[in-house]
Symmetry: C2
Subunit: 194 residues, 2 copies
């Protein structure tokens, strides 16, 4: 269960065996069945989750009741609401499981203690945040400049592992289009190929 996280960390920072063992103790496992929530809108986000297996989504609900997915997370990804976690304010997002999932949770205060205990983690979390920031920046550029079809193509290229396992409705929600439009786009694409 802890192996994937261990590998994840090893790829990013140098730790001694002893530090590994110590750091992993700050995390605790959690299983989520499909449709279960890790975070509900209005609650304060108290932990960041590392995904060992499964698939989750983070989404907001607008005034019309429409869901908008801001992030997917599969194996080897992190998910949380950094803003709520940082400020302690209620989250505007919900996070739930699209498949039965296994997570390793790092509570807010465990994070603090981990950082104090092994400061090298400062660097790791900073890198992670930087990556997420950059991914978001790219996504903004793409949604501002590309057509729905281009964005879909881009999504397939960037996240083939996600595209092949989550229902189209959710991909449409991530792309900011209706499921009907995505269906037509796909038809258009297969006609072109044929």
């Amino acid at each position: 269960m802890f192996e994937p996280l261990r590998d994840h960390i090893r790829k990013r920072i140098d730790l001694t065996e002893e530090e590994f063992v110590r750091s992993l103790e700050y995390f605790h496992p959690r299983r989520l069945k499909r449709h279960q929530f890790l975070l509900q809108e209005g609650d304060v986000c108290k932990h960041v989750a590392f995904v060992v297996s499964g698939c989750l989504r983070c989404y907001s609900v607008d005034s019309e009741g429409e869901e908008h997915i801001v992030q997917f997370a599969i194996e080897d990804w992190w998910i949380s609401d950094p803003y709520s976690m940082l400020t302690g304010e209620p989250s505007q997002y919900s996070i739930d499981a699209l498949e039965d999932s296994e997570l390793l949770l790092l509570e807010k205060d465990s994070e603090q203690r981990l950082l104090r205990d092994i400061p090298k983690f400062e660097r790791m979390f900073r890198l992670l945040l930087e990556n997420r920031f950059v991914a978001n920046q790219r996504r903004i550029t793409s949604v501002l400049s590309a057509s729905a079809e281009e964005r879909y193509l881009n999504f397939l290229k960037m996240y083939p592992a996600i595209a092949s396992r989550v229902p189209q409705v959710h991909i449409a929600s991530y792309l900011g289009i209706t499921p009907q439009s995505l269906s037509r786009i796909r038809r258009g694409m297969s006609e072109k190929k044929a």
Copy 2:
């Protein structure tokens, strides 16, 4: 010239007078005339800039030659391409001045030394990154779920200081709509009010 940065830091972390003085030495001033570049697409981003006065924009150019603004920066904001800076890869963005501007630059290796010298800055940069991440996340949600008019209204509310000083073309570019559409939206709004 250094006062605004001093205040900026003071609001976020606790430093002794001596640490302030020492930290400011890692920064150096730079003046930019309107239309001058801080970063050109294809170059590697070598510094992060704190804006003392003036206004800059960070934008990408798509395959059709259209510019898309990903960020504005006015007094008390930071601007850079974190990805290029982190990886050393050529940037896909350009940063230029919309007004004559005064900046304080922190070079990549000065940043490293500053962090080693005064580790409290780790926290400050992490907070800044977190804020930028959150702002981006909000922007994604808004561009996915809101109409052009709602996005414009939202922009006016979030960034009144920017809305009142940059030309409409640039605001349109930030919102992901054409200048013509923005003009019509504004007409619609003033008709409603009247």
